[in-house]
Symmetry: C2
Subunit: 342 residues, 2 copies
DNA sequence: TAGGACATTGACAGCGTTGTCATTTTAACT
DNA sequence: AGTTAAAATGACAACGCTGTCAATGTCCTA
């Protein structure tokens, strides 16, 4: 019933170790031998046992995905991306949701790592920004790849995948500017998140480049949540829109949806009286009325490349085949929630 | 650096095997010995190696979560629930998204199972309904727990967790009836899904109990998607609402959101001219305008109990401590999208 | 106080791989 | 053909734990 490496070896007429070499794609196996072994593998439908590999080998075949992001769409996308690479490479994925409010998160982390020795970790924001975590991992000698909001720096090229929120925010803001808006509010997330400051700076840079004076009163700091989007829109627009805002940049789709919701309550027509934009292009940016103009962030692709980067580090030169993109810029998607200033 | 069972044994002054007994909570370890060993475990901060346990033991410490549900919120909830139990019991979770359109899904499945011998699987709908899969698992002798839409039957009590959609749909429909609605449309999912027929039957039963004649024209079959919700609402309400519909039951929150969207397009006021209800209470049922009346489905709790049920089967009598609920009925949550008939 | 029954513990092999190092085969030279 | 270096393969221990079964300890009974 259960097929082991020995069965394959016997059928192929080689030693166990040679089969091991073949399935690990080690060099220094003769082509002919390789083919014979692969034939045996296929006829027996052999699947190497992960537990044994993890136990015996120096490197492991499980990678961890660590996240601390309340957004389900985001997590699923990241998960699927990493998973698709894992499947290809024969790795297994264990997921590890975290709560950064949780004080014993680091212990939790260590436990997980001890339990199943890991090939490496993929860290998603905002967790990937926490230096205490990174330091701990460095200290423990654990491989990792961080998905980060930011503009690439030479230094961290090989452990980071950057999402250029700055650029994307610049683009969205430019879009609104080109529609004639000049009084543009910003519903940002909390400033501890790198993405918040990046998006904010992109927004400000675009305004500057169009010679529009910055005004801090136009910025509302929320928590990337629907509720804080509602609050933010109410706060900025007030009862009679004293700041004469005609466009609102949501820090993410959820906040934009909140702003949409608030606008309804206040009887403001979108986009006629107010343009609203999102960020991330999560599915529900298409499920609002009107549909959200937003910046599409290809999370599944991003996480695939994160996984690739991790595997490259883990398995050394063995699979350098595919190119790895380390910087992604979300791209503008224009829908119905933004329109010309009237 | 790495602490093994031997280190613990040495420190505690017992044999390796006794430590093993302690960490596996086997009976027949003297209380005193137990305490000594646990002390050693704690001072060394010992974490048993999962790979070794899986390799050496007859039972495994990894469980699989298999899903084929496009709804991110649902998946995350299920995942978190199962994960929380796993953490407690020292298990590890590997996730396995499927695509039931994919023809070689079953092979995929087998590969996964061979790779890492599993303690068992948690199957979520609609995958849990597919008898071909169940048969395969039975044949392979794999433990599993199915989360299913349905009313409990005695027979499958020990491998199934039921979500009583029938009852919930009955309740939602009754809610609408009590508001005075008599012409109630139903935007259901595709009929291959068990949940669709369950919800449909609940809806019909409620109508019957109120002596309202059933009318198939009031039922639109979609795919549980936002888009099909839009289409369904358009189809049922037509240009001049020939069926005189004053309330619309969404098969799930997404379809309800779609109906909301369509209503906006058609200039129908919610809930003044039309009541709309959802199903599942996913986060975005609170992020629509108006917020959706829906049936709350506690997916995280459901999946926790699914995991418990699995562990009970896996580990035999070792942890019978907590009671397991095997039937859950989503409960009505009244929000702003439903109102009295005017 | 001896004998037996049962509870508790330990010694050791084995799970299915990979790492190390020794051995054989091949290729590349004189 | 003979030598040598390099490439290809194999033998065997080890990874950290659990299962088996034998050994010891404890408590009871007569």
């Amino acid at each position: 019933m259960k097929v082991t490496i020995n069965d394959v070896a016997k059928l192929a007429g080689v030693s166990m170790k040679t089969v091991s070499r073949v399935i690990n794609k080690e060099p220094s196996v003769r082509k002919k031998t390789y083919d014979i072994v692969m034939d045996a593998v296929n006829t027996l439908n052999y699947q190497p046992n992960l537990a044994a590999r993890n136990l015996a080998g120096t490197s492991s075949f499980t990678v961890g995905l660590v996240y601390d992001n309340p957004n389900a769409y985001y997590v699923i996308d990241m998960q699927n991306g990493v998973l698709s690479r894992c499947k290809e490479e024969g790795y297994e994925l264990v997921i590890h949701p975290c709560n950064y409010l949780d004080s014993n998160m680091e212990d939790d982390f260590k436990t997980m790592i001890k339990r199943s020795r890991l090939a490496g970790l993929v860290l998603t924001p905002p967790l990937s920004e926490q230096s205490s975590i990174i330091d701990m991992l460095d200290e423990m000698g654990i491989h990792y790849v961080r998905v980060l909001s930011g503009r690439p720096t030479d230094e961290e090229q090989d452990t980071c995948i950057f999402v250029n929120d700055y650029e994307a925010a610049y683009e969205i803001t430019s879009h609104l500017l080109s529609l004639g808006h000049t009084h543009i509010g910003f519903l940002c997330g909390d400033k501890e998140h790198k993405s918040t400051t990046e998006r904010l700076e992109g927004y400000q840079a675009a305004l500057k480049d169009h010679n529009i004076a910055l005004n801090d009163e136009l910025i509302y700091e929320g928590q990337y949540s629907f509720e804080s989007g509602v609050e933010g829109a109410k706060a900025l627009l007030g009862t009679d829109n004293p700041l004469q805002i005609t466009a609102l940049l949501g820090g993410n789709d959820e906040m934009a949806a909140g702003a949409l919701f608030a606008s309804r309550l206040m009887g403001i027509e979108i986009p006629e009286q107010l343009s609203i934009t999102g960020f991330e292009d999560s599915p529900f940016s298409r499920q609002t009325w009107p549909k959200l103009t937003t910046a599409h962030q290809a999370n599944d692709v991003i996480s695939q490349h994160a996984a690739r980067l991790l595997f490259r580090k883990t398995r050394g030169a063995r699979n350098q085949d595919k190119e790895i993109i380390t910087t992604f810029t979300p791209s503008l998607v224009v829908r119905e929630s933004s329109g010309p200033k009237t």
